[in-house]
């Protein structure tokens, strides 16, 4: 039970890291919504996922 909890918990951080990577990729490599506002949103939205993946917040 504790092992399962731990695995699920670690998946949490892996998911956060993967989402950060996806956002980073989309910041530089996307086919729609190329404007400045979306660049800002993509750059800004990465922050919480990096913080979570790094066990900071």
């Amino acid at each position: 039970m504790i092992l399962v909890q731990e695995v699920i918990h670690q998946i949490y951080f892996v998911m956060a890291g993967l989402i950060a990577v996806v956002l980073l990729t989309r910041l530089f490599r996307r086919k729609t919504r190329p404007g400045l506002a979306y660049d800002i949103v993509y750059a800004y939205a990465i922050i919480p996922f990096i913080l979570r993946a790094l066990h900071i917040k």
Binding site: M1, Y12, L27, F28, Y44, L51
Partner: protein, 403 residues
């Protein structure tokens, strides 16, 4: 990277336009990262900060909580337990501080005890930070300052203001509904991370439940006679300035409240409701042999209707909106903005309240008498808690602990 830019309709054609776009996006990413680093300075500081305590000469042992249950070893919940054993037969008491770190008079009371205690009979166990994970983060959305500082004759001592629940960094995900063990009562989802909703705990439960189990195991193995769980309450909450006691501790609590109200400060008492599950005053009383008592002091800082939640408000408890609520009879404790509810007052109440309950246990059960002293309510009100906190730089290194 250039191929990705070329594939972007907004990037235009390859060349100067594409490079400009890449530079813009790299710049925005760098700005976001700078913002992240600067904006999380306090968050990172709170996560790694450790409080210093200069423990009195009465200390006989310091053991990790995992010594009683291995299931929390290596986690932030593996709190140090400080043991003050007189070597003389008598009763035993556990002072449990910091179950809810956003109620900081609780761990500060435990620190004042640890720094000044003398024990002539029986044993005293102190856990100052029962939920270190919750102490390592601020409360979401409340704009709390991360730390507050207590003035002492030799300088300032810094303590943390934390959250109420275990951090998701240590325990995730929350269930849709938290089913308390073993009662099966349904509680709010976030209570799965609330140390004072997970007692008596379970060995194969989530991290917070395992921590509760470790504390319950310690109480059972050490045959601790009295457990005092130290909290603070908002003044709009009915049990503020109150002992909440398991029915087995009812009489000693009533006597203690009467004595305190007559001689020191207003104190109420209430018997733990049998239908309110997961709290120390219910479950430790039901699942261990210990008398279970929870103490609440008045903390304006955590009321929802006060002004800015600043370090000053934490230390003084002075707030004009609280006064308006008091004038309209909306509070459950006396309040005057001129005096507020200072940290000295709240810590002093806890020191006096714990001493009186211990004394009453000895009156009702002479074999469980504990000979113990620490600063009194009157001394703290006169000199301030800073007077009783020692300078780690000048103390014997063997007495200095990072908690």
């Amino acid at each position: 990277m250039s191929s990705s830019v070329n594939s972007d309709p907004g990037a235009g054609k390859a060349g100067t336009g594409g490079r400009t776009l890449v530079v813009r996006r790299v710049g925005l990413l760098a700005a976001a990262l700078v913002l992240m680093v600067v904006g999380t300075k306090d968050i990172r500081a709170l996560r790694v900060y450790r409080e210093t305590v200069v423990v009195s000469n009465a200390l006989t042992a310091q053991v990790p909580l995992s010594a009683y249950f291995d299931g929390i070893r290596g986690t932030l919940m593996d709190a140090p337990v400080y043991v003050f054993d007189s070597g003389v037969p008598g009763g035993s008491v556990l002072i449990l501080g910091g179950a809810h770190p956003y109620e900081p008079a609780s761990p500060v009371m435990a620190y004042v005890v640890m720094e000044n205690i003398t024990v002539t009979r029986g044993r005293v166990f102190v856990i100052a930070r029962a939920n270190m994970s919750a102490a390592s983060q601020g409360m979401l959305g409340n704009a709390y300052p991360p730390f507050f500082r207590v003035k002492t004759p030799w300088g300032e001592k810094q303590y943390r203001i934390g959250d109420r629940e275990t951090s998701p960094l240590e325990q995730w995900p929350d269930p849709f509904t938290f089913v308390h063990y073993p009662s099966t009562q349904n509680l709010a989802y976030q209570d799965s991370r609330n140390l004072n909703r997970t007692f008596p705990g379970r060995a194969d439960g989530n991290l917070t439940e395992r921590t509760s189990f470790a504390i319950s195991e310690m109480i059972r193995r050490e045959k601790i006679d009295l457990t005092i769980d130290v909290h603070e309450a908002s003044m709009g909450y009915p049990v503020v300035s109150t002992f909440v006691c398991h029915q087995r501790a009812e009489e000693m609590c009533m006597m203690a409240a009467m004595m305190l109200s007559a001689e020191q400060f207003p104190m109420k008492t209430e018997t733990s409701p049998k239908s309110l599950r997961g709290l120390t005053h219910r479950e430790i009383g039901d699942f261990t042999g210990s008398f279970a008592v929870l103490m609440e002091s008045p903390e304006p800082f955590i009321d929802k209707f006060v002004g800015p939640m600043t370090e000053e408000l934490m230390l003084t408890g002075r707030d004009e909106f609280m006064q308006i609520a008091a004038d309209r009879g909306l509070l459950y404790a006396e309040y005057d903005m001129k005096t507020g509810a200072t940290l000295d007052y709240r810590v002093g109440r806890h020191l006096g309240g714990a001493a009186e309950v211990i004394k009453q246990m000895g009156e009702f059960y002479p074999a469980k008498k504990i000979g113990v002293t620490w600063p009194t309510y009157a001394e703290v009100m006169e000199k301030g808690i800073g007077y009783f906190l020692h300078d780690p730089a000048k103390a014997d290194r063997r007495r200095v602990f990072l908690n």
